[in-house]
């Protein structure tokens, strides 16, 4: 059997699978180690950056996936079925942002921060596959712990949780200045 180019194999796999594929599994198929595979993927990504390419590669934690480039959107909506977009209400977004930044987190902790019950919001987020149960807290009642999913990363265009927008921005600066110390305390938690 003739050895195929690793790039070609990876492209074929990612194209066919559609969904994200773990780098470790890709490494196995091309018989390389994970580091080498990541390098090949990085090379492919820079190839996709060329002007005449309409697709690109995104990384999601330890997986990669092929997707269209964002600036193709205008043309795509003319012809392709765009996936049904779910609208996230403010309640859902607030709950989601708390889960994203404080995961793993229990319902009770979310409620403490928001001051209101969150059962419905958490259930909806689980339904949308943005949030999932990630375990149970080792505490009385063994409450469920929630965290964000890979779909969350895709939906919000972040590669990993480490890439979430930081909790400081111009607007944040304003009230941070009022109480630098206190906010810092929050961030450290």
């Amino acid at each position: 059997m003739e050895r195929q180019s690793a790039e070609a194999i990876l492209e074929a796999i990612l194209f066919t699978m559609g969904d994200s594929v773990e780098v470790a599994r890709l490494a196995e198929v091309i018989e390389e180690d994970i580091e080498a595979t990541k390098e090949i993927l990085a090379g492919m990504k820079s190839g996709y950056e060329k002007e005449d390419r309409g697709i690109t590669l995104i990384e999601l934690e330890d997986s990669v996936q092929l997707c269209t480039k964002p600036d193709m959107y205008e043309y795509l909506i003319k012809i392709a079925k765009t996936p049904k977009k779910f609208v996230l209400t403010d309640t859902l977004l607030e709950t989601l942002s708390i889960i994203a930044y404080k995961q793993p987190i229990t319902r009770l902790e979310i409620e403490k921060i928001r001051g209101v019950s969150c059962d419905h919001a958490v259930n909806r987020l689980v339904e949308f596959n943005l949030v999932t149960e990630v375990g149970r807290l080792d505490a009385p009642g063994r409450p469920l712990l929630f965290g964000t999913t890979e779909e969350f990363l895709r939906c919000f265009g972040v590669k990993s949780l480490g890439e979430l927008p930081e909790l400081n921005s111009v607007q944040m600066e304003e009230f941070k200045q009022q109480a630098e110390a206190e906010v810092q305390l929050q961030l450290d938690i």
Binding site: K69, L93, E94, S97, A100, G157, Q178
Partner: protein, 256 residues
């Protein structure tokens, strides 16, 4: 003073008591670290008084905060509390911390919303396996599949099962003969008897039964006759017990 303005009754819906408090603080342009507790509490209470919700769960969440605000208000009227380290404690401190934390996540939720808009411009693809891949069947590795199974083992298993089967056999029931189930269609029989009654002015029950083959058919025919008598479509006469039953039709075809 700015914060004395009346609160519109049908304000926006707040996510919860903290959201409402943040709104009031913002609206009154006051320092989150120096909340004029008397004013804010008054406005807060006014708002929840006008709140048009009958959901007690939502209402109670707002009421808990109202109680907290009133508690803080009271404590501020008392001489300042001192903690273990001898520092003065602001009764508002805990609330401020909660407000700050909540405000931070609320802000991040707007940030996420923007991100979602941008990310929504990227499209993905469904999994599509080429037919050849779809149809691929992994070949069976018989050596590992059969491992230590050989013909003798197969035979042992079979004998064991037949033995087990024997143990289960009921010695009485297994000697019974076959019982055939009679198939008599009630509706068909009814139609048949009615047709017979329509075409015969008078006939004997025995005469009708001559056409019936099995016991079940005879029983069904008898039931149909009884039913027709009940409906008044035939008359029945019997001179003596065990005599033939004479049936007279009242629904002769010509008469209809």
């Amino acid at each position: 003073m700015g914060w004395n303005m009346a609160i519109p009754v049908k304000l926006q819906v707040f996510e919860g008591p903290l959201d409402l408090l943040l709104h009031l603080i913002d609206k009154n342009k006051v320092d989150i670290y120096d909340i004029p507790i008397v004013e804010i509490t008054a406005q807060y209470l006014e708002y929840i008084k006008d709140m048009e919700t009958e959901d007690m769960n939502i209402m109670s969440e707002f009421l808990v905060m109202a109680a907290t605000l009133i508690d803080i208000k009271c404590r501020m009227l008392l001489p300042e509390e001192v903690n273990e380290e001898g520092e003065e404690e602001d009764p508002r401190e805990e609330l401020v911390q909660k407000l700050l934390e909540y405000k931070m996540y609320k802000y991040m939720s707007f940030e996420l919303k923007d991100r979602q808009m941008d990310a929504g411009r990227t499209l993905y693809r469904q999994q599509r396996l080429p037919q050849e891949v779809e149809n691929y069947k992994q070949p069976v590795d018989y050596e590992s599949l059969l491992a230590d199974v050989n013909l003798n083992k197969l035979q042992e298993i079979f004998q064991f099962m037949m033995k087990r089967q024997e143990d289960k056999i009921d010695p009485v029931r297994s000697t019974f003969g076959k019982i055939e189930k009679d198939e008599v269609d009630m509706d068909l029989k009814t139609t048949y008897v009615i047709e017979y009654v329509k075409s015969h002015k008078s006939f004997s029950f025995r005469q009708l039964l001559e056409k019936q083959r099995s016991k079940m058919e005879i029983i069904v025919t008898f039931l149909v006759i009884l039913e027709l008598m009940k409906l008044g479509q035939i008359d029945i006469e019997q001179q003596d017990i065990c005599d033939d039953i004479i049936i007279t039709s009242k629904i002769l075809a010509e008469a209809m």
